[in-house]
């Protein structure tokens, strides 16, 4: 996100916007459940889901017990004041619970869930608490904890009970055989006389196990979904807007650039050619007039001089809009041309292994132009140096002058406009200008795209 200037004074730092957040995840368990029943039932999935539900049930009970104790103790002690702290701690119970849950979910989810919390810079307990309480993520985690203790613990309990019952009646012939010849009642009131007669119960037990597997899969999947919603970094509305704004800003910059080129082309194809044609016609007129009226000859000469001046002006204007040499020969050549026209002597040392993306070249070019113009106008410098290299797929460009320094990057609109364009390219612009000089402007732009 583009935040304002920060850090040491005199340093402009427009940081790159965050990359867009990952899209909605697909739940691995539910994917597995879509397979053939035999394949799902004989995979490791049912066991993993049961383990997840069972451990979740135990964990949920412990958390519930802890919360009940903390809240009741907190309410009782709130008159003393310590209770408030306890209640605040209870409000943050979601943080450790979520940490455990994110790990526990790895049982059934191959992709790890990301921690939504920002880093805390201070180490003090109170400030840690304050920064956590200020985060939405903390409250979402508390909501998840509530869902865990209220819904998942008890549904987990139900599935576990059904699982235990199904397992028991599956092995019912064995039980009957062990307890024979006494009559076994698997269901009260219905005596089972011998092991083979218990086989229908086994069938029911196996069916129950299958039902348990699917139930556990559904519940676990739901928990994964909920965890994904509540325990991970979330592209909330404002963040989504930032992403959309960043994109629209990039589109706007592209459109702006296209417009510059169109204007440059129109001037080149239109006004510039017209002026040349005009001076050519005047030249012809002068030729035809060789021995004619000297006053007319004088006027023609004046007309030609005026046309010439208009051409010069137009050429400078076009160069300021978009220099053709940048398109044809790249950054190094274009900067060399700028250096020639700069009133200060400028040493250019730009050594790039290849042409860079158009947007990078254009932005870098105009930044150098602006920096050199500033150096010539305000710095009192006697010379300037431009150095450019490609360092690990980043264009690093520095413009240094030996002037008196003290440049205020916030003063002019020229540099901040360029820094905005730099931010669109996820690059940055740094100005260091201590009083007494030297002033250095540094551009860093990634070029891999």
């Amino acid at each position: 996100m583009a935040e304002g200037p920060e850090g040491e004074r005199g340093v402009l730092d427009w940081r790159a916007p965050r990359p867009p957040l990952p899209t909605e995840r697909s739940v691995a368990v539910w994917e597995a459940m879509r397979q053939r029943p035999t394949r799902f039932l004989f995979s490791s999935w049912p066991l993993r889901c049961w383990a997840h539900l069972f451990s979740g049930m135990l964990f949920g009970l412990v958390v519930l017990l802890g919360l009940v104790l903390m809240v009741s103790a907190g309410v009782l002690l709130s008159v003393v004041g310590v209770g408030v702290l306890l209640l605040a701690a209870a409000a943050m119970a979601g943080v450790p619970v979520a940490a455990v849950e994110r790990r526990r979910l790895r049982l059934v989810e191959p992709a790890p869930l990301q921690n939504p919390h920002g880093p805390t810079l201070t180490t003090g307990g109170m400030s840690w608490m304050r920064s956590r309480l200020a985060e939405r993520a903390t409250w979402r985690e508390l909501g998840y904890t509530a869902a865990l203790t209220v819904v998942f613990t008890w549904t987990g309990f139900g599935v576990t009970a059904l699982l235990a019952f199904s397992a028991t009646i599956t092995v019912s012939p064995l039980i009957v055989w062990l307890l024979a010849p006494e009559t076994v009642m698997i269901i009260p009131g219905r005596a089972v006389p011998h092991p083979l007669a218990a086989l229908p119960f086994s069938a029911g037990g196996v069916l129950g196990l299958a039902v348990c597997a699917y139930l556990a899969g559904l519940l676990t999947g739901a928990q994964v979904k909920l965890a994904d919603l509540l325990l991970t970094p979330r592209a909330d509305r404002s963040q989504r807007r930032v992403i959309e704004l960043t994109r629209s800003r990039a589109r706007l910059a592209d459109a702006f650039e296209a417009e510059r080129r169109r204007i440059e082309r129109d001037l080149h194809d239109g006004a510039q050619q017209q002026l040349i044609a005009l001076s050519m016609t005047l030249g012809l007129a002068q030729m035809e007039l060789k021995d004619g009226n000297p006053a007319v000859a004088e006027l023609i000469t004046r007309g030609r001089a005026e046309a010439r001046r208009a051409q010069d002006q137009l050429r400078d204007l076009v160069r300021g809009i978009h220099p053709q040499v940048l398109t044809d020969h790249g950054l190094a050549a274009a900067v060399a041309e700028v250096a020639l026209r700069n009133p200060l002597p400028v040493t250019v040392d730009i050594d790039l292994p290849r042409r860079l993306p158009g947007a990078v070249e254009t932005t870098a070019y105009f930044t150098v132009t602006e920096a050199l113009a500033n150096a010539a106008k305000h710095s009192g410098a006697s010379r300037a140096t431009v150095v450019g290299r490609l360092e690990s797929e980043r264009l690093v460009l520095t413009v240094t002058d030996d002037g008196r320094g003290g440049a205020d990057p916030d003063a002019g609109t020229g540099l901040s406009g360029l820094a905005d364009r730099m931010a669109i390219l996820r690059g940055r612009l740094l100005v260091s200008s201590p009083v007494g000089g030297p002033t250095q402007l540094r551009v860093e732009v990634p070029c891999s795209a």
């Binding site: 050519m280 012809l284 040499v325 044809d328 020969h329 274009a334 060399a336 020639l340």
Partner: protein, 220 residues
């Protein structure tokens, strides 16, 4: 009378140039609007000289310049005069550095020079005769480009003037006229220039190219 192939995409300017050349007694054998047609026209008509714009369709970049270089590679001693809207030295040095010395005339002229009709016709004739002519404005920029470390700084202001005129392709006699000095002193100055720049005092075209090669520093 020269047989000219002209390439210029702006219709108005193309018509104007055709008129200018015809009135000055030359024959325009073909006037085309893009680089591909230029190559075809030259191959078909073997002109005395080619005049081309730098920026040409289809890409509207430096197709004209590239076509000129391609034609010179194919047709020995084909004189080419490149007209440009840009003072940018990159185009002039591209033209010079990709071209081997001493094979037919070569010119790089700003478009606005066509208004100075008689001078333009002189340049055209010089290039057709095999000389190298670079626009004075471009030469001025090339000279200004030199920094302290260059041997060029050892030249006196008068020697620089002589060098600049030399780079425009003028001979000693004309330089002497321009500077209102004797031809002998021009010879003396140019001797000093070649000595200071460690150049062979070869004649004509090669002399200019050597000077320009030296001026622009490392070949691109």
């Amino acid at each position: 009378m020269l047989r000219v192939v002209l390439a210029e995409d702006a219709v108005l300017l193309r018509a104007g140039l055709v008129e200018l050349l015809t009135r000055s007694g030359h024959e325009v054998v073909a006037a085309v609007g893009d680089a591909e047609q230029l190559v075809l026209a030259v191959d078909a008509s073997c002109p005395d000289i080619v005049i081309t714009d730098v920026r040409m369709p289809p890409g509207l970049r430096d197709e004209g310049l590239k076509a000129a270089l391609e034609l010179r590679a194919r047709h020995q001693r084909l004189p080419v005069l490149v007209l440009s809207q840009y003072v940018a030295t990159a185009y002039a040095t591209q033209l010079l550095s990709r071209d081997s010395a001493g094979r037919g005339g070569l010119g790089y002229l700003l478009k606005e020079r066509v208004g100075e009709v008689s001078q333009f016709m002189d340049t055209l004739r010089q290039v057709a005769e095999g000389q190298t002519v670079i626009d004075p404005e471009v030469v001025r920029v090339l000279l200004a480009q030199q920094t302290d470390s260059r041997p060029l700084n050892r030249l006196t202001p008068r020697e620089r003037e002589v060098l600049a005129l030399m780079a425009e392709g003028l001979n000693n006699q004309t330089i002497a006229q321009r500077l209102t000095v004797t031809e002998a002193s021009v010879v003396k100055h140019s001797g000093n220039i070649f000595m200071k720049l460690d150049l062979d005092p070869a004649e004509g075209n090669r002399r200019v190219l050597a000077v320009l090669a030296h001026l622009r520093g490392d070949p691109a």
